[in-house]
Symmetry: C2
Subunit: 140 residues, 2 copies
DNA sequence: ACAAGAATTTGTAATTGTTATAATTTTGTT
DNA sequence: AACAAAATTATAACAATTACAAATTCTTGT
């Protein structure tokens, strides 16, 4: 993915681009695998040896605040991040801890909250067994 | 709430009652405020001075496994617990970090997952501003 | 182009939430 | 009462995150 694409996306969300921010954002855009801070840091450290983990934390905080990425808290151990901000749910497998994207029906009614709540975002989390682990458990 | 009520609830979920388990479960049943381990430990420590925080962790793990309470991961900092296992959503206020229960419409369609996923439970999380904090921000 | 100031990044240390482990206590069974 | 199994406890270890201050990089006015 080109720098230009990433920079435009950042700017569209009111974020001034920097080498580090571009790298983190690009990583998220190219890896829709719900990476953790650790994942991102480990992957980028090769290219940018001076990168600090604090910067990854700071950058992700900023990206989330500006609505450029989604924070996923389905795994209670670590926060995961997702550059795909479109309407979809997440499934966490209790056996292998993988997170899968789950499409939501188009016609599902939009959420209505009691008066005076200001809604910023909605997340739908499922827990259970992914197809692989469900099959594995059958054979036991 | 009587010991008997709590013991029956635990037994119904296949959990052998003990002083500590009853205390934790009762606390959750009487405080539907989504407490954290810390909250529960602090509250029970007065009555049971020998109580260990590890026991609170162990007990909650067991309660969740047996489906007696729900684990709430909407707040990325700490896991919260909820004895109300009925179908409802949670709203986290980004300003004051309070968690509110939100009723879901009765007629909402049940979730359909792709084939072969085994679903254990579903959580719906909203983030935004609670009525109090929304009002406060207006006045600024 | 350059100095001053603001913003960003960095490295380290501190903090917090949680888990591992092994010893101790309690419970249940003969 | 004696033994085994289960539960609890205390401590230490661990992992994720935040606080903080110094260093670096960017921006802007002259």
């Amino acid at each position: 993915m080109s720098d230009k694409t990433v920079i435009e996306y950042l700017s569209a969300h009111g974020i001034k681009p920097s080498v580090q921010r571009i790298a983190v954002m690009r990583y998220l855009m190219e890896h829709l695998t719900h990476p953790s801070v650790e994942d991102i840091y480990a992957a980028l450290h090769d290219d940018i040896p001076t990168l600090s983990k604090t910067t990854v934390y700071n950058t992700l905080k900023l990206l989330v605040e500006q609505g450029a990425v989604m924070m996923i808290t389905i795994d209670e151990r670590t926060t995961k991040y997702d550059a795909d901000c479109s309407r979809h749910a997440h499934f966490l497998c209790s056996a292998c801890n993988s997170i899968a994207d789950i499409a939501l029906p188009e016609d599902a009614p939009s959420h209505t909250l009691p008066r005076n709540f200001v809604l910023h975002n909605t997340q739908i989390y499922y827990r259970g067994l992914c197809p692989e682990c469900a099959a594995r458990q059958q054979n036991t």
